[in-house]
Amino acid sequence: MTRLVAVALAILLQVMAVMDALAGSKYLPPVTDALTRKACGECHMPFPPGFLPGRSWSALMGGLDDHFGEDAALPPEQAAQIEAYLVQNASNGPNGRGLRDFMRWVAPAGTPQRITENPAFLREHDFPDRVWRDPKVVTKSNCLACHPRADQGWFDD
């Protein structure tokens, strides 16, 4: 009997996970590569690669010496390793997965540099000015201020 309940529960959890995945907008696999987590998680959280297509990550990695006004340059061999990881796991990468409502805004050859300029992002985050002026938020790209589990890939709270 307990076994039956356990199996039923397991199936239910699976179904819920699949439904979440289909709804598609609450979970994206986080960065798991240690070097990428460290190098790209120092100034902001390491953004899940599934938020952008591979060509966007390549463009970002090619311009680290002027990265949104920051010098985020890395030794070439580290940059190459990180780029490979990001491209593999990008929304269109062989191991990657994107959010459908985000990706439908990305033009077939477009190379957006910001997640926070995607119309899907702007629609989900259409908050009054005072929310963005909160000293704990600072900028739209500070996902962790509002999604405490963003580091683990969850954007549901």
Partner: protein, 142 residues
């Protein structure tokens, strides 16, 4: 388990953080010695680093770098023993003061990288060896 085994374990457990602290302090001293050598080479009149000058560097509103970061305080906060917040990204930063964070200023590569990057962001130029030594000396007393 014998009392003897227990006491050995207890001693090791107590000694470990102590050796870690001592190693941290030694690494920091070595970095300061390096900056002192460079400061002396740049100005033969150099004698010692000053926590007071370091504090002035830390608190000054420079206004000559990135508009978002007029001061070290912009990210490391007015009280360096507190957790800071990156004024460009909002990400939290471990305290800059050695008393709150004994691992600070113990890895040459990290220290050099951040002086170069953060001084450029705040002042609009790199910090000199004198300024670097003053800053670490100030943080050691915090």
């Amino acid at each position: 388990m014998t009392i003897r085994a227990l006491s050995i374990i207890a001693c090791t457990a107590l000694a470990l953080p102590l050796t870690a602290l001592a190693a941290g302090a030694a690494d920091r001293d070595a970095i300061l010695v390096g900056y002192a050598r460079q400061a002396k080479a740049a100005d033969s009149g150099f004698t010692t680093f000053s926590a007071q000058r370091g504090e002035a560097l830390y608190r000054n509103q420079w206004g000559s770098g990135d508009v978002r970061t007029p001061s070290c305080v912009s990210c490391h906060t007015a009280d360096p023993r507190q957790i800071g917040r990156n004024a460009k990204t909002g990400r939290l930063i471990e305290p800059a003061a050695v008393s709150s964070n004994p691992q600070r200023y113990t890895d040459t590569a990290t220290v050099d990288k951040h002086f170069a990057r953060d001084c450029k962001s705040v002042i609009g130029r790199d910090c000199t060896p004198l300024e670097r030594g003053d800053y670490i000396t100030f943080m050691q007393g915090q």
